[in-house]
């Protein structure tokens, strides 16, 4: 009996020790976690760092992030909280009815909690207007696309404990008013989606995605094509047919599941098949594709992932991601590192392009222009 107790105890202790051993010498590598996450870095032990407690603090964090089976443990905890309590551990994401996932920041924006004030917004809009005037003289069109807001489009799935209290004085309402007053061309996709959602044959947002659905992006791409072609540019006409994607792996790998993926669960959320557009481009070979500049937030990535950018603008499109990074077709194709933007917008820079399109979602309106308009 004594030996049996001994065996049991040492078995338990060994099981325990495996967490440490796998952290130091990984003999089993679980799948990495999804989402932006910076694991704590190893730290250097010195008399000074130990005495001040900095070493211990950093080491505790490091051990937490590098304990054996860390991704599995995180997924297990996330799964328990998600399945039992509908709680998420991804920052700024909240779960609504029917498992609908929202990005938390958009509620703040509707309720005016990030409102920068009418004067601050007007100042930025006036700068944009002067840019538009300058470009117009050169025949270069400018368009502002107000990207849709999932919370505004589908408020009915918000959790009951989070009633929305939209206010008039928020960045969206003021921007809209100023765009109209200053006569800056804009496409209010936010309002458009609210209007069409009840008659839309396909969802405009996926339940587990942050951005517009692939159907939603097809609608916007179609409208953008018309706008550019009516304003002196050339982009191939675009048509699409909708087909239901049944392969769940493909859906999970797509942007329609971008929040869902970041939840880092043990078991994938059950998915319905999603309607995806199949694009067809009618290109007139005697016309050169236009070269637009997109100053945009993450909503533009869908144009790139769906190959709309490549097919409509060839290798000539440029995407200034949040006004900080320069992405091009070449960077995408050759997996080259993107360049960083060092300068503000200048006329000479803008004259290189055939069109200037600013895409901004409601949550980013407080950063209208992404600091580039000065």
């Amino acid at each position: 009996m004594k030996n049996q107790f001994q065996i049991l105890f040492y078995l338990l202790l060994t099981g325990w020790t495996l967490f440490l051993v796998n952290g130091i010498v990984p003999f089993y590598q679980p799948d990495a976690l999804h989402g932006a996450f910076t694991p704590s870095q190893d730290t250097v032990l010195s008399w000074k760092t130990w005495w001040s407690g900095r070493f211990q603090k950093k080491m505790n964090l490091y051990c937490n992030d590098h304990v054996g089976f860390h991704p599995n443990l995180v997924r297990l905890n996330n799964q328990i909280d998600y399945s039992l309590f509908s709680k998420l551990h991804a920052k700024s994401v909240l779960i609504g009815k029917n498992g609908f996932l929202y990005e938390n920041g958009f509620n703040r924006t509707l309720e005016g909690k990030d409102f920068i004030g009418s004067e601050a917004m007007a100042k930025r809009m006036r700068k944009l207007k002067s840019i538009q005037d300058t470009l117009q003289k050169q025949g270069i069109p400018l368009l502002v696309i107000l990207a849709p807001n999932k919370t505004r489009t589908y408020p009915e799935f918000l959790p009951d404990y989070l009633p929305l209290h939209p206010v008039d004085s928020n960045n969206y309402n003021i921007s809209l008013q100023l765009l109209k007053e200053l006569n800056i061309p804009f496409m209010d996709v936010s309002e458009w989606f609210v209007k069409i959602k009840s008659e839309s044959p396909y969802p405009l947002f996926s339940p587990y995605g942050i951005h517009w659905s692939r159907y939603g992006v097809a609608l916007v791409a179609d409208s953008l094509t018309h706008y550019l072609n009516q304003n002196g540019c050339y982009t191939p006409e675009l048509t699409y047919t909708m087909k239901y994607e049944k392969d769940k792996t493909k859906i999970r790998a797509s942007s329609d599941f971008d929040i869902g993926l970041g939840l880092n669960l043990m078991f994938s959320i059950p998915l319905d098949s999603m309607p995806y557009p199949e694009f067809n481009y009618i290109h007139q070979t005697d016309c050169a594709k236009s070269a637009p500049l997109f100053l945009a937030d993450s909503y533009y990535w869908m144009f790139i992932y769906e190959e709309i950018s490549r097919n409509q603008f060839g290798n000539q499109w440029v995407f200034w991601n949040y006004g900080k990074e320069i992405w091009t077709q070449e960077v995408m194709d050759k997996h080259k590192p993107y360049e960083l933007i060092n300068n503000k917008l200048s006329a000479s820079e803008l004259y290189k392009y055939d069109a200037f399109i600013l895409i901004i979602s409601e949550g980013n309106l407080s950063k209208f222009g992404y600091g580039m308009l000065d």
Binding site: N77, I80, K91
Partner: protein, 458 residues
């Protein structure tokens, strides 16, 4: 643990001591030398006390030792408090505040000071002989499982085990189970309740509703119990894995039917210390005139409150409990005994919950404002916390584990879990459960710190 298990018996205490020093130095590097020096001085003071025959000289050495221990406790824990209060009093006249650099508090000082006192006083009382090996004394004081948050162990309770403890594989298993029980209480219940309590208490009292205030107060009540008793369970468990038998520190305190009973079940080792080294020296129950017993009780509870923290709110908290103890001695206990059990249960729990508002907020005016909200001054549309399913689930668990001993089934389950009379099959089942709970706790600890910003990906 592996090192401890693998070294020969003669080196086990050395492993414990080195481990304890590293453990303390990890959390409190500046103060590891303070604790090492004071234990060295204490050890020699007590040796000198034992050598002399004259009662007067014995008393002198006792005073030396007590002055050293209490002096350090006073300096580190209470100097800030007294200087701040004195400065405030003086500044009322002159308008100038005395400059003072706040002192950092060495962790665990309240616990190891009290343990040092038990050693010194018990040698003085000739309850036991002083140790002849300084390192053994160091092991007693610095024994890492109980160093930071108790239980407060009297020297004679552990003296035998320091040199001659019985270590069996079965005892280690019981220790491991106990450790996992404590870890689960801390990680699953205390930490979850802590989140809800902190959420409510972070709001100004005028911004929360009555329901919110009760939610916060109850969440904190369960948090502190499961946190503290969980820690004690872990200490007892690790102790057992190394062959030590530490005294129990909690015995279902919230199922008490009076405050008198509560203090027999809550932080038992501190209560025992107060009784043996303060209440009895003050005369205990054998005092004349009889009203002095109440004065003694108030003194004990005042010091107990002050021991918990150098704030007026802790002093008030101690006196508050002392007041109820006296009222119970005077008449209330007799009345409660003649009433249905649930009345006493409700009364004792309510007194504890209210007391813990002072304990948590650490400021008397703030606590009174919070209590006013609890008792009806809250606006119904004010903040009342997200009482979601997670809260209700863990709240129910906390409630169940706090009061289950009142039910025959609950009592039976508890007796089985803590019985230490397992057969092999029970051990296999308990080991399996322990491993599952260990993984769940590890997941909770690791997962709670993982909050990635999804949006940064784009």
């Amino acid at each position: 643990m592996w090192v401890y298990l693998l070294v020969p018996k003669s080196l086990k205490n050395a492993v414990i001591l080195i481990g304890s020093c590293l453990f303390y130095a990890w959390e409190s590097p500046q103060f590891v030398f303070v604790i090492l020096t004071t234990t060295w001085l204490d050890y020699h003071f007590v040796r000198q006390m034992d050598k002399v025959e004259s009662p007067f000289l014995r008393k002198i050495w006792l005073v030396f030792s007590l002055s050293l221990n209490l002096g350090l406790l006073f300096y580190f824990k209470y100097c800030n408090f007294f200087v701040e209060n004195l400065s405030e009093m003086l500044s009322e006249g002159s308008g100038t505040v005395t400059p003072w650099i706040k002192l950092a508090l060495p962790i665990g000082i309240s616990f190891y000071t009290f343990e040092s006192i038990t050693y010194v006083v018990d040698v003085y009382r000739k309850i036991h002989k002083p140790l002849r090996n300084f390192w053994l004394y160091q092991v007693y004081i610095m024994l890492f499982p109980k160093l930071i948050a108790g239980p407060v162990i009297r020297y004679h309770e552990i003296s035998e085990q320091l040199t001659n403890r019985i270590e069996t594989a079965e005892l280690r298993l019981y220790g491991l189970y106990r450790f996992i029980i404590g870890l689960s209480k801390k990680v699953w219940i205390a930490n979850t309740m802590a989140g809800y309590a902190a959420d409510i208490y972070s709001h100004s009292p005028d911004k929360i509703s009555t329901l919110g205030a009760w939610t916060g107060a109850l969440a904190y009540t369960f948090q502190i119990y499961f946190d503290f008793s969980g820690y004690s369970d872990m200490a007892i468990g690790i102790g057992k894995m190394m062959g030590f038998r530490f005294p129990e520190n909690f015995n279902n305190p919230y199922s008490s039917l009076s405050i008198t009973e509560f203090w027999k079940r809550w932080h038992i080792t501190l209560g025992a210390w107060m009784r043996n080294y303060l209440y009895i020296p003050l005369g205990g129950n054998q005092v004349t005139p009889p009203y002095r017993i109440y004065v003694n009780l108030m003194v004990v509870f005042l010091i107990s409150g002050f021991w918990h923290g150098a704030e007026w709110a802790f002093v008030f908290w101690g006196l508050y409990h002392g007041f109820f103890l006296i009222v119970e001695r005077l008449f209330l206990l007799k009345i409660l005994q003649n009433l249905p059990k649930f009345v006493g249960l409700f009364y004792a729990f309510l007194v504890v919950v209210i007391g813990l508002v002072f304990f948590n907020l650490e400021e008397i005016p703030k606590s009174i404002a919070f209590l006013k909200i609890m008792f009806g001054e809250g606006k119904p549309d004010a903040y009342q916390s997200t009482m979601d399913f997670m809260f209700l689930f863990y709240f129910t668990l906390a409630f169940l584990f706090s009061f289950w001993i009142l039910l025959p089934k609950g009592k039976a389950i508890q007796e089985v879990v803590f019985s230490e009379k397992y057969g092999f099959k029970e051990h296999v089942f308990a080991s399996f459960l322990s491993f599952i709970f260990l993984i769940l706790c590890a997941a909770k600890i690791t997962g709670s710190d993982f909050n990635p910003f999804i949006y940064f990906r784009f």
